[in-house]
């Protein structure tokens, strides 16, 4: 079983290396097939691990495995160690399963791009990084996986490296994540110093009575989780990351990367439970993010950005759940979210692909009639996101909302925030769906899908522009290639049935499965579940209804409040605030240092030194007359003087 876990881990890495080493000996298609097959192999191995683990008794479901000791100092070991337990298997299944569908989709989506091989090598590397992160058995490996995920996301967001916006977005994502990496690494150092071990789960068993230490560690871990999961206040990189290809966005949002923060909190729950204030802070940040992201999503006009903000909002729910100790519910929502968010992104990708890379929903309006399968898929994804029964989101989201009722007055505050969030979710999701998929096709859509020839294009690049990666023009057959539509349909099915594996409190295998790793602190009662479900569904439907009145039947005018509109369109001025708070002072400091320190003091002193040496050289150079007799005279005279002095002193 441990062997299967190792296969699951290294298969994507092997694919990435293979594609890199074969280079142009490999056809572009071949690179796609290798990457897809390797991730499918990972998924198969993960299923084998799950089956094995399932047959064992709940107490014996933790299997560390070390292949290589990297460093040994007394009782302190650092090795390449993985841990197979219910939590890591759960994550392995999501990462490799959803990852497989997305990589397969890329075969169709990226066809004709100039650098497909590089793309697939990066994709495989990304999946490997995330698997390393979730399978890590000690802090060093976890940190390595964490860093590699950041690196892969940087490479993929900036995949179209000749576009300045993509490069800037990649750098932004990397720098924002680096802040989190730094706080997390500091937390790890504190933990290692305190616990004298790196290995899970001993490293986290801090125990009571270490007030400030445990709070610092928890804050550091939270910093890492917040950066990776794009929660307030480190959320600004996520919408910009939409500059990458659409499957990359799907991978970042559904299978890898942003879920890592939730995983980290659940994995290190022992630390957080010793620091209840930090735990409440995590839940509060989640609640804040889900509201802010939901509000911003209301006014965005880029199809991918709306979905991106909905991801932030849904991750906010997971933070809320994990922060309140409802670990099983948070992980369950992570899983269903992976299904429907991958579905939404991939369906949006079909639209973008069919319309030559256009992403503005005002131009995409009314495309649904021409892409009926995509419309149905997107509808399923939207309903699952809003949490309409019996789709996946209903089961998972409502459990999180119910868990808040089991945690006192602070829980009630968060409960209200979460309910407002469901209303916003209904509103922005339905707005997006109605604008893009219903109504009469816009002029832009007619031009591209009803004309004689249709072109597939790269996002953001119109067909008329000579696109550097120009997808070839070819006749439009159906809605998209097989490789794109098949994953969309599979995900549509999963978004419907994915939630059925748990219906708390009647039937909860997911929570039971994870109990051994992270026993929940808050388990809502049956009546609390019922109240939360009822309110959440009602508010979600209310959101849908209002969105319909505004964007569907147009009986209601959207309220026009200029300042609010601007506030939301500028994303609550987070970017501007960071610019003002960090970038400008840093630039000002650097410039003043240049002006007052570098120029006059450092540069000046070096110039003075050089001048002094030069002057001295010129001065002594004058002694060098070139007249041999002068030298001889100097020598003779010196000897004479020395002799006289010698004699006289004697």
């Amino acid at each position: 079983m441990v062997v299967a876990a190792w296969i699951c881990l290294v298969a994507p890495l092997a694919a990435a290396l293979l594609i890199t080493l074969l280079g142009t000996n490999l056809s572009r298609r071949g690179a796609g097939y290798i990457a897809t097959a390797s991730v499918l192999g990972s998924f198969t191995a993960a299923v084998v691990v799950l089956a094995n683990l399932w047959s064992q008794s709940p107490e014996a479901r933790s299997h560390p495995s070390t292949v290589w000791e990297w460093l040994t100092a007394g009782s302190f070991h650092v090795g390449l160690r993985i841990l197979v337990d219910p939590l890591s298997v759960f994550m392995m299944l999501i990462v490799s399963g959803v990852g497989f569908l997305i990589v397969a989709y890329s075969i169709g989506y990226m066809e004709g791009d100039d650098e497909e091989r590089r793309y697939f090598a990066y994709m495989a590397l990304f999946v490997f990084s995330m698997l390393l992160l979730v399978q890590a058995g000690n802090l060093v490996i976890l940190l390595a996986g964490w860093g590699l995920v950041g690196l892969s996301s940087y490479l993929l967001i900036g995949f179209w490296h000749d576009r300045p916006a993509a490069v800037a977005a990649a750098k932004k994502a990397f720098i924002m994540n680096a802040i989190g990496d730094a706080t997390m690494a500091l937390a790890f150092f504190l933990l290692i110093q305190h616990r004298q071990t790196l290995n899970f789960p001993d490293a986290f068993a801090v125990g009571p009575g270490h007030g400030w230490l445990v709070n610092l560690v928890a804050l550091g871990l939270l910093g890492g989780a917040v950066a990776k999961s794009a929660q307030i206040p480190l959320q600004t990189w996520l919408p910009d990351a939409m500059e990458g290809p659409t499957p990359v966005s799907a991978l970042i949002h559904a299978a890898t990367m942003v879920t890592a923060g939730v995983y980290l909190i659940v994995r290190t729950h022992a630390v957080f439970e010793q620091a209840p204030r930090v735990e409440e802070l995590a839940a509060g940040l989640g609640a804040g993010t889900l509201l802010v992201a939901g509000l911003i999503a209301l006014v965005q006009t880029d199809i991918k950005r709306v979905i991106a903000y909905s991801t932030m909002s849904q991750i906010g729910y997971m933070f809320l759940g994990a922060g309140l100790g409802a670990y099983g519910n948070a992980m369950f929502h992570l899983m269903t979210h992976a299904f429907f968010k991958a579905l939404l992104f991939l369906a949006a990708g079909v639209v973008i692909h069919a319309l030559a890379g256009e992403q503005d929903i005002r131009k995409l309006a009314g495309v649904g009639r021409l892409l009926p399968v995509t419309r149905i898929s997107f509808l399923i994804g939207s309903l699952a996101l809003i949490g309409v029964p019996p789709l996946a989101g209903f089961f998972s989201k409502d459990s999180i909302i119910a868990a808040e009722l089991a945690r006192g007055w602070y829980g009630y505050v968060l409960f209200v925030a979460a309910l407002i969030g469901t209303f916003l979710t209904g509103l922005y999701t339905w707005r997006l769906f109605l604008i893009v998929f219903t109504g009469e096709p816009s002029a832009f859509v007619r031009e591209h899908l009803m004309g004689r020839s249709h072109a597939y294009g790269q996002e953001g690049a119109h067909v008329d522009d000579a696109s550097p990666h120009g997808h070839e023009r070819h006749e439009h057959k159906g809605e998209g290639p097989f490789w794109m539509m098949a994953p969309v349909l599979v995900l549509a099915v999963l978004s419907v049935i994915g939630g059925w594996i748990q219906f708390a409190p009647l039937w909860d295998p997911v929570s039971t499965w994870l109990d051994g790793v992270a026993p929940p602190l808050a388990t809502p009662s049956g009546s609390q579940e019922a109240v939360a479900s009822f309110l959440a569904v009602a508010l979600g439907l209310a959101g849908i209804g209002i969105a319909y009145l505004i964007y569907g039947s147009r009986k209601l005018e959207a309220p026009r409040i200029a300042w609010a509109q601007t506030l939301l369109e500028r994303k609550f001025y987070f970017d501007e605030a960071y610019d003002l708070a960090f970038y400008r002072p840093a630039v000002a400091l650097a410039q003043s240092l240049t002006r007052w320190i570098e120029g006059p003091i450092i540069g000046g002193s070096i110039k003075e030194l050089a001048t002094g040496v030069r002057e001295a050289g010129l001065g002594t150079g004058r002694l060098q007359t070139g007249l041999v007799r002068t030298y001889a005279f100097a020598i003779a005279a010196s000897v004479a003087v020395i002799t006289i002095v010698f004699v006289a002193v004697r």
């Binding site: 007359t625 070139g626 003779a636």
Partner: protein, 102 residues
């Protein structure tokens, strides 16, 4: 010790050395300068041998032999240089050969 007193020997040595020094300082022809150098060396050699005899040790005489060998080598180099200068048709005047002025 037979023969004249040590002071005479040293006097002759000093005279030779002073003559050589003046030659080096005052003459301009490189050939004469080289010649004067040899005279200085021989003055030094004479002093070495004198003290060697005075103290009854062989070390000074060995030194004198070493100085002669060095002097011979030096003459070879010096005359080579002078021939090279002559071939370039430059003035054989040490005051005019002052290209190394700083």
């Amino acid at each position: 010790m037979r023969g004249p007193d040590v002071a005479w020997y040293l006097g002759v040595a000093a005279f030779l050395f002073a003559t050589g020094t003046l030659g080096v300082l005052l003459r301009r022809s490189p050939l004469i300068v080289l010649l004067s150098l040899e005279i200085m060396l021989n003055g030094g050699n004479l002093a070495l041998i004198t003290f060697s005899r005075l103290h009854g040790e062989a070390a000074g005489q060995i030194f004198a032999l070493a100085v002669m060998a060095v002097a011979a080598a030096e003459v070879v180099v010096g005359l080579g240089l002078i021939v090279a200068i002559a071939q370039k048709r430059l003035d054989l005047d040490v005051d005019k050969l002052s290209f190394l002025r700083g």
